[in-house]
Symmetry: C2
Subunit: 338 residues, 2 copies
Amino acid sequence: MDKQDRRRRPTISDVAAAAGVSPKTVSRVINNEPGVRAELADQVLEVISKLGFRRNTMASSLRSGRQTATIGLIIEDLANPFYSTIAAAVANVARTHDTQLITVSSEEDPDLEQRQFLQLCQRRVDGMIIVPAGSDHSYTRSEVEMGMRMVFLDRPPSGILADSVVIDNAAGARAGIMSLLEDGHRRIGVVIDSPIIYTARERLAGVRSALADAGIPYDDALVEVGVTNPDEAAHAIATMLDGVDPPTAFFTGNNRSTIGAIQELYRRDSDAALLGFDDFELATLMPRPLTVIAYDVQELGRAAALRLFERIGGDTSWPSETVIPTHLVQRGVQLLKS
Amino acid sequence: MDKQDRRRRPTISDVAAAAGVSPKTVSRVINNEPGVRAELADQVLEVISKLGFRRNTMASSLRSGRQTATIGLIIEDLANPFYSTIAAAVANVARTHDTQLITVSSEEDPDLEQRQFLQLCQRRVDGMIIVPAGSDHSYTRSEVEMGMRMVFLDRPPSGILADSVVIDNAAGARAGIMSLLEDGHRRIGVVIDSPIIYTARERLAGVRSALADAGIPYDDALVEVGVTNPDEAAHAIATMLDGVDPPTAFFTGNNRSTIGAIQELYRRDSDAALLGFDDFELATLMPRPLTVIAYDVQELGRAAALRLFERIGGDTSWPSETVIPTHLVQRGVQLLKS
DNA sequence: GGCTCATAAGACAACGTTGTCAACGACGGG
DNA sequence: CCCGTCGTTGACAACGTTGTCTTATGAGCC
């Protein structure tokens, strides 16, 4: 280790030379191909472990043209529990296919998303799951034509026909609002992200549909759009509560907004009802009651990964859209005592 | 697209033929090597974009022997916020080095950890960050000798000398316990994972050190080890509270146990003090007061990644151990109203 | 014994790219 | 006008592996 601390990695030829056989024979052994005497194979295996030989995956898949046993996942932010749950589910499916996962963050930047996409193409991943940040994905078309498999997650693709897995956003929001209406609420404050975003748009559509069915006019003063973090949500809630004829219930369009709403409602000891899209860890310990529109986040990732591996396995059927259902769940720490 | 829906991916030779130049010239263009007339380079670039050529990363790094611009991260479970925060931090550092991250879960299984490690070696990643599940890492030695760079995260390596980044577990626990002692607590219940696990062992050592300094005998009846989930923690807390001379304060060794403790203490309206290792999202909304031993999880990942890239950059200094400091923070939703 | 045939092993080329070196024309100095 | 030099470009081989084809060996059969 003093004069040569960085040994060269042994290659198939090194193994072959040390074992007194041809490189091809070593190749046969490491690939479990038939046509090698058991005795000789053992001998080769011994040399392999003695030299610490590891087949170079890159050379192997370059030559054989087979799969690279890698898939890509493009998400907005790995630190966000929603995305990390998806990543974990995808990785689990990948592992059952002996495939490794390259996860990259787009940081909600369409340009970065595209660059990451192309880099993954250059690595010749077998397929990709993408949670779109941008709104135009026609740039993927030429790659898809050249065989890249893609599944869109959480938001449908645009500018290209491809598989997608999405939540039943509109129906979930609609069901939630209908339950508020059944409880007698007539003024419902809505706090939601910008309708530029697919999920926000769909959820808002669900809200409007439920209100329309109940014959309740849509009141712009009770809808705050473009809310992206807890503080903005808290502020929006405060403003509505301070207005004339304040809402008796709130709908928050994602869990970040729900957190902000809980903070503000708790601070004021308000007993307004709260309905939030997305369940979240520790919702059961929140200091006030709330209802969440829940769905199986793992299933979202799992379904996308399964679809992707079907494609990789050779499925060439027409692109499908998988819709993950939602359901309403009561949350809040008060339930612990009942 | 009807008869040949899967076009072959163009290679450098295809581009060369279409542009009427040699493959080497195309290579020079895509690598920004000098020695190509600007006019000719433009012409080549045009053909490249027309054909949708993407350099094959595998062939490139196979031939050039340069870095693969990939690093590996082996963690226990990507769905766990602690690990996903680390993964995000590592990915962020990686991106500044134009490197992509392959994240794999060991599922706390030493065998799987080793298999994943070897697979990453076969992919010739430039380096790896590993949160050890197993307790013996001598199996990495031959790879390290052949140039694999490794940084151990959250737990130090054993059986091999390598860089590591860990939390100041003992000092953090010690400081927390000392603060409970200052508040007058003399009977402190301890709920912690198995001491087989490095972090649990260190934290328990911190607890014992603080108690010893205060002259308080270590009472086995007040220490429950081997607790791995919230329910077990809640049960352990309940048992201690139901015993004779119950504790007036509890220390929980990680955030899962802390959650369980909160549930049980809230259920009973107990006003026992609670001190938990690990901060967590939404700790500010917990329905009772608690103190957490907090540290910068992102920094943990960031430090490990920075160290790894120093190694990849050629640093051959003696392995270092980076220790991330901790500090005490008050949490609980009651703070919102003050 | 000569034949076929199956089996085992190796020779060789190729995957897509790039390092090395040679070839070419243009240019300027002696 | 020749020669060395520079700037461009290409030919060729090689990275580590594997697909294809060939060769060597011996068993089995008439």
